[in-house]
Structures are given as C-alpha cells and as structure tokens.
Symmetry: C2
C-alpha cells in the first residue's frame, strides 16, 4: 500500500523542523509507517518569493500528489520597514493576496488535498534584542519585528483561512495562551523544543480533524505481530 | 530543480530514526533543501520479511527513483534460536542470500543507485538483561541476542558488501572502537542519541564518498541571500 504524502511548505520555521526536537521530525514519527512527511521550508522566504516555487513544488500533473500541505508563511512578511531585513517586508494587503494565490494554486493543482494554514508565531521582542546583542554587542540594531505586527499578519492569515474555508492554526494566539510563552522561542522568533512541541501537537490535531488521524490509518506493510514468520506470504497477500 | 531522494530501508533501528535525536531526522537536516530523506523502516522485520517489500518499495519503473538507499538489516536475523523472539532468527547462510537478493533487486530496479550496507550494531548483553528485568522483573527471560552472534552477522554483511562492491558501514566494529560503547544503546539493542549520532556521522561520510557530499550539492531553489527581493524573478530564472 503506497503511503500518502504530507508536505510542509514554509519559511525557516519549516526548514528547521528537522533540527533536534523539531516538529517535522516529530510529525514523521507520528505518521511512522503510514505517511511520508516531505519538508519544503525555505529560510528567509516570504510569500512573495513563495509564489515562484508553486509551479515546481505543486505541479498539476503530479503522479503522487500530497494528501495534505501545511502553509506556514508570514514571519518574514511581517519584518518592519526601515529596519534590518526590511527587504523581507510584504505589505499586509499583498501578504493576503499572496496567501490566497498560494492556497488557490495548491487546491487547483491537487483538488483533493487538505491545506492547513499556520499563522506566524508571536515575536518575543526582548528575546530578539538579546539575540541581536549576543551577535553584535553595542552595534545591535533595533529589532526588525514586533509582536503586534506579527499579530496583524496572523489575523490576516486567519481571515484567508475563513474566506477559503480551509483549516488553520492560530499559532500567534495559541502560544500566547501560556503566560510564559517566550519559552517557545529561542531567539525571539524561531522555535525551542517546547515551541516545536506546540506546533507538532496542533498540526497533529488539525490533520486528524481533516481525516488524517494517524492512529486510525493503516500501515503500508503488516506489523510484525500480524505475521506468521513461517508463512509470511499470507500476511502480505492479505494486505493487498 | 527536483531534489534527489535518499531511502532508509531497514528494521526498527531505521523505523525509529526520527525519534528525538534520531539519525534519520539528522540526515534530513544535513541534506536540508538539497535532498529528501524517506524512511522505510519496519520494526521486527528480518531480511526474510524484507524480501516481500522489494517489489513495491523499489519498483522498476519508478518515475523518481532514489539516488541512494541504506540497507540496514541483521539485528533481528541474529536473534537466537531457543530464546524469546526466536521466530525472527534467520540462519546466517540465508541472511547472506537474502541480503544479496535485496541489493541485487535494488540495483536492477534502479541501475544508477548508490546502495550502502549497514551492519547490525553491537549488542550490550548486560543492558539487554537490565531492560528485560525492568519490564518483567524476576520473570525476565535470558537475553535473545548476544554480541558475538551480532558480530557474525556483521561480518557476513561486510562480506556481501565486498562481493558486490557496494559501500558499507561496519557499525558493529565502529561502535566498539569506543571503550564505553554501551552508551550508544538504550536497551542493549536500540540507539541512544549518542548512538544515533554515530550512525548519522558514518552515513554522511559514506554518502559523501559515493558522490552525495551535502555541502557541495545545489539547493533546489536559491538561498535568500542570492535573491534581489525587488526583482526575485531573476534569481529564479538563473536557477533554471
């Protein structure tokens, strides 16, 4: 039985999801022997750059299209104008339009796919300043992101999800339900192991609601306890 | 640019390679934005069962065949007769024949593929007994594996590699170069994070020798530092 495929599409928070404790690796483990998890994360990319990846990443005539795609952009789009990294900034109206285009493209190329929108996480501005100082000391520039701005992009992402009726994770809000939510971020922006665990838990839940409930999904090949090692062919025949 | 694919084929030591600190997740990270790592690990499987997976896992007419496959079986084949798990035992001559069949099949289906044979790791018999006692107390049965037996299967695996002229990792020997090698095993058999790091390091080295040197491989899409965010189309055009 061919395994279904889940694609993780996003920026550095997706790219780094296979680092120790990462949410991508944890997801692979959750879907062990049941689905393949494919990472398509691009550090530094915003939604404007993501548009250039769509044709190759989600082609129309794919022989084995994914059953689900997480779309996780916005942390870079929300970089402030007039600060370091301002080239990453995407005006909020354009962010919305780009996200709509991304979801449209994926759904048009792969009609049966489950798309999950994930908002950017909150920004810990103090942690961000400390991180910059650890690199540049007195020459550290003012933080290039604010939590308020990330929140506006998160809200926009949720609007897109509502308009298109696709499932979503409001990571910005979810994390801040925890009083010491700053522990989820390692440099004020990227995820700690605890932050990765939050993303993993939320993604597992939303995939399950969308029909990809890992414990209920079949193995591609039988569990060894279901095999008579003397006559293994029977278990493999049954599977087909 | 389509990413090449690396398949990890084996038993539980491969299946569990995306658990925290796992060598499969680390490998995915090593080949970040350059190659996909696909896990095909099956807990409890020996080479006899693995034969039943070959046609579906490595079909002849695959549109996107892997560039490399790690073959990592033997820990279960080496289970002792007359002990717990004896159904997993595969006589050493048959283990050799099965491994030959596995490599032949993969190379015939995918002529350009790099196959890497990995021997079973050593067995820490004391650790194995302690693990059994932690589960069953006084009712724990004698260990179902010995280090000596695992060593014989490792030697046979290396013979197959030499006969077929495929690269290999003698994990059984490599680990025992370290005086306190028992630290590499969590229950006397499966890998700790340190053990996973050894496997990861060895696999990275042998893939590099075979032409898959991660730092020298191209990204599928440009690094953000190579993109003019005002005119991104130029960087993406250049890439093609």
């Amino acid at each position: 039985m061919a395994r279904p495929k889940i694609v993780l599409f996003g920026d550095s928070i997706t790219q780094r999801s296979f680092e120790p404790g990462g949410w991508g690796a944890a997801l692979t483990n959750t879907f062990s022997r049941k689905a393949d998890v494919i990472v398509r994360g691009y550090g530094g990319y915003n939604t404007k750059l993501a548009l250039f990846l769509l044709d190759e990443t989600f082609p129309t005539n794919c022989t084995k299209p994914p059953v689900a795609v997480t779309v996780f952009f916005g942390a870079n789009d929300a970089a402030l104008l007039g600060r370091n990294n301002e080239q990453q900034h995407v005006p909020i109206a354009q962010y919305k339009e780009n996200l709509l285009k991304i979801v449209y493209h994926i759904k048009e190329s792969i009609p049966a796919v489950l798309v999950v929108l994930i908002t950017p996480p909150p920004v810990d501005e103090v942690g961000r300043i400390e991180y910059a100082r650890s690199l540049y000391g007195e020459n550290a520039k003012p933080p290039e992101r604010t939590n308020e701005m990330a929140g506006m992009y998160a809200k926009t992402c949720m609007e897109v999800a509502a308009e298109l009726n696709v499932p979503s994770i409001n990571l910005w809000s979810k994390m801040q339900e925890t009083p010491d939510w700053q522990k989820y971020l390692c440099d004020g922006l990227h995820l700690t192991e605890e932050g990765n665990a939050v993303v993993h838990g939320e993604v597992v839940k939303v995939l399950a609601s969308g029909g990809l409930h890992a414990p209920g999904m079949p193995y591609d090949f039988p569990h060894h306890s279901q095999i008579d090692f003397e006559k293994p062919e029977e278990a493999f025949k049954k599977q087909r």
